[in-house]
């Protein structure tokens, strides 16, 4: 490439960056205090919009000049609404406040912004180490993470491209455009980037296949279908750092020689759709997408396709069918989509996280990326750790971190003094691992050999109150409903699995059921075409392997050891412990099953009780009078006194 042309790309990029930096400075010339509020879906669900309104109102009332900076999600979903206040004049560093209700917002405006008192009892810590107050970097939740893909999440406004540019965004694209495409592919290969959509297939190998195709028309698809229940990192990335994804898409498209890209995002994520749509328009307006990007001669149009809520459409060949307007039915490979995909053209399909990892890889080099993670799984992984953990949310860690570190150190362990029972990794394709596996390093191959799989990164932690048979039944119910119906084993086999599991959870299990489950599971794996059917039995097989005694208790003793399966469980009130007249349980019962006994204590009408467990949660801990038992016959029977009406 001639040097003059090289200079043009770089010059144009520098001009954009300088303008963006100037815009940033102009936003807050007199160093006003800044209030940063996370406005991704989970923040909004926790009331962040009300918090923002409260700040605005309080600032106006008191005549304080401050900037409100809206950002995406920092990943600390347990702490939402999350607010960071930077008040330089107070002498304090920026401070992270969790659970900022509108009331707290008004209080902080008054006491911190006006009077300079940061209210120690409400803060989590300063965002940077300092001499005045403890900083969040002292917590494992912050210092064990390694933010590569999520580096900008919760820091920049996803609706403002200039913030991303000023933070160093699009520099990797500019650099890539001045590098021969083959070299980009080599860098990605050397970095050892493996796809983050589930199977961990080496990204560069797929790209080479498309690049070597004689067909000049090629597609890049960003897979943001995220059908995995319990996982939401792709949504968060789209809502928090859309430009990093677009930059990754552009780098990939340039490397494989594609001029058309598609973001396939599920329609259930309306905010993500809005955010990425506006990001595309902004990038186009700045010449970072569209025709002749940064004067390099490279063209790329990015479109959006909304997935309509079929789990199987996350599978590559099914996705392609759905884009063409058909039912999303997978078809056999080869030909691989990288050879023949959308409209018969070579199509690279990569997960959101895979593509979003490209800017840091190109920007920092392959060796830098390889320096994190393990030899066979380099880099970082993003997990949504949810369920029974103290601090659920999104965590990005170097590959190779142990499950124990992730669940206990970073996410705070199991709340309510309960015991850890299992962690479900990889969604409907994955498995449940018991406590023996807590020291397993998290990487593609270790998880696979333990019987789980990396999947998309959903991790559901379960405490002792979880029934593993019920969990297996839950997943089979999901895959059975989502099977596209093309393969007999997947369609009918999962139906049969579900029927057996449902019987077992109802206490109608029979001798021989477990053996049938096992053989059926193997047949479904062998007889299905796509990943959905091939992995659907995994939750059943891992729970059978690690929690067999629980299945046996259901079948032989008609007992659910975790007291979850409702037909096998009953709630009752221990009359010794019940404080007469404390009405909490009665008030919270949604079906009025709690009644007053002759001694003015409370008891549960077993006929009416729907076993929702509300009374057990509600009964004040000093009485702790509500009990669960299985089998239900063990619950003492107390008759309702005749109504005196």
């Amino acid at each position: 490439m001639p040097t003059a042309e090289k200079a043009t790309v770089q010059d144009r990029f520098e001009a954009l960056r300088t303008a963006a930096e100037a815009h940033q400075r102009a936003c807050n010339p007199d160093h006003r205090p800044t209030i940063q509020i996370g406005l991704a879906t989970c923040g909004i669900a926790s009331g962040a919009l009300e918090t923002k309104a409260a700040f605005e109102e309080a600032l106006a009332e008191r005549g304080i000049a401050a900037c409100i900076h809206t950002v995406g999600c920092v990943g600390h979903c347990y702490a939402e609404p999350v607010v960071v206040i930077d008040h330089p004049e107070s002498g304090f560093p920026p401070i992270f406040y969790p659970q900022v209700t509108p009331g707290k917002a008004k209080m902080l405006t008054h006491l911190f912004l006006e009077e300079g008192d940061p209210r120690f009892e409400h803060l989590l810590g300063a965002t940077i180490p300092n001499d005045l107050i403890p900083s969040v970097t002292d917590f494992a939740r912050f210092n064990r993470e390694a933010r590569v893909v999520m580096a900008h999440c919760g820091r920049i406004d996803p609706g403002e491209i200039r913030e991303y540019l000023a933070a160093g965004g699009y520099a990797a694209l500019a650099q890539a455009l001045q590098t021969p495409p083959e070299d980009i592919i080599t860098t990605v290969a050397t970095a050892g980037l493996r796809g983050r959509g589930g199977a961990g297939f080496p990204a560069a190998r797929k790209w080479r296949l498309a690049r070597s195709s004689p067909d000049p028309v090629r597609w890049v698809v960003c897979n943001a279908d995220e059908g995995d229940p319990g996982a939401y990192m792709d949504r968060t990335l789209l809502e928090s750092t859309p430009h990093q994804i677009l930059e990754g898409i552009a780098i990939c498209a340039y490397a494989v020689g594609s001029q058309r890209a598609l973001v396939y995002v599920r329609a259930e994520y309306p905010l993500a759709v809005t955010t990425i749509t506006s990001a595309i328009a902004q990038a186009r307006a700045m010449g970072l997408l569209g025709a002749d990007i940064l004067g390099s001669g490279f063209n790329l149009e990015v479109e959006i396709f909304q997935g309509s809520g079929a789990f199987v459409c996350g599978e590559e060949t099914a996705l392609i069918r759905s884009v063409a307007g058909y039912r999303g039915m997978p078809h056999p490979r080869p030909p691989f989509p990288a050879e023949k995909g959308i409209d018969g053209h070579p199509t690279i399909i990569n997960n959101v996280k895979t593509l979003a990892a490209l800017p840091p890889i190109i920007g920092n080099g392959a060796d830098w990326y390889r320096g994190m993670g393990t030899a066979d799984s380099p880099g970082t992984a993003i997990f949504s750790v949810v369920g029974d953990v103290l601090h659920p949310g999104l965590v990005e860690i170097p590959m190779g971190t142990s499950l124990r570190t992730l669940i206990f150190d970073i996410c705070g362990g199991i709340p309510n003094k309960k015991q850890f029972k299992a962690v479900q990794i990889g969604g409907p394709s994955g498995g449940c691992l018991p406590a023996e596996f807590l020291d397993t390093p998290i990487d593609f191959d270790s998880l696979q050999s333990a019987g789980a799989m990396m999947g998309s990164g959903g991790m559901v932690v379960m405490d002792e109150d979880t029934c593993m048979v019920d969990v297996a039944r839950y997943f089979v119910d999901f895959t059975q409903k989502e099977s596209c119906g093309k393969c007999t084993f997947c369609r009918i086999g999962t139906w049969h699995l579900l029927e057996i599991l449902t019987r077992i959870t109802r206490g109608e299990g029979r001798e021989g059921d477990l053996e049938t489950l096992e053989t059926l599971a193997e047949d479904i794996k062998a007889g299905s075409l796509c990943g959905l059917g091939k992995t659907a039995p995994n939750p059943v097989l891992t729970t059978l392997r690690y929690f067999r005694d629980e299945y046996e208790a259901h079948i032989r003793e008609k007992r659910c050891p975790a007291c979850v399966c409702r037909p096998l469980t009953a709630f009752y009130i221990d009359l010794e412990k019940c404080a007469r007249g404390c009405n909490v349980c009665e008030g919270c019962c949604p079906v009025e099953a709690v009644f007053i006994t002759r001694q003015r204590k409370r008891a549960i009408d077993q006929e009416k009780c729907v076993k929702c467990g509300e009374c057990l949660v509600a009964c004040p801990p000093e009485y702790d009078a509500v009990r669960k038992v299985s089998p239900p016959g063990l619950a003492p029977v107390i008759a309702r006194p005749p109504q005196d009406d």
Partner: protein, 180 residues
């Protein structure tokens, strides 16, 4: 015109059909537009009426069975009018292990309709969804566009009541406004 049951169209159905015909004109007659078309119509009208599917089929020159087959394959599409406040209860993994099914049952009980249906006053409808992406707040239920985290069976009645009170207030204000 007639609806699918051979009855004369209601004013509502007629208005929907007129609007759909207008919207269809903006789409090329290409198979690949089928799903975006269905999405646009559902976003505007809340559901896909049988007569609407016929119109779409005619526009794309497809047999109606093809259109119907695609629409029923995807979970997103509805064939009955939703309530003014559609309730969607999350049945994802995190929500399941924290009692999502009990939340759903409670909505069904309190609204006296099974999942998938709309109350006779068209105020509420109930649907199950597979993960709305707020798993850290499980169990989750959405009323309209608003996501409610940390749901509990005892919160269900309150949510329904809130909507009803807001509606009554709005109606009262409208009436006062008209009176004054």
């Amino acid at each position: 015109m007639e609806n699918a049951a051979g009855e004369a169209l209601t004013a509502e159905e007629g208005a929907i059909l007129a609007d759909v015909a207008r919207r269809l004109a903006a789409f090329d007659r290409e198979r690949a537009n089928l799903i975006p078309i269905l999405q646009t119509i559902q976003n505007t009208h809340g559901y896909l009426a049988p007569a609407v599917l016929q119109l779409v089929a005619r526009h794309l020159r497809l047999p109606p069975s093809q259109v119907y087959g695609v629409a029923t394959f995807y979970n997103q599409f509805r064939f009955h009018p939703p309530g003014r406040n559609p309730i969607r209860v999350c049945m994802g993994t995190a929500c399941h292990v924290r009692g999502g099914d009990i939340i759903l049952e409670n909505f069904e009980r309190k609204l006296e309709i099974p999942e998938g249906q709309t109350t006779p006053d068209r105020e509420f409808s109930i649907e199950r969804v597979a993960c709305v992406g707020c798993c850290a707040l499980a169990p989750v239920a959405c009323v309209g566009e608003t996501v409610h985290g940390h749901m509990a069976p005892s919160k269900v009645e309150g949510l329904i009541l809130q909507v009803r009170i807001a509606r009554e207030r709005a109606e009262r204000e409208k009436k006062d406004h008209a009176d004054s």
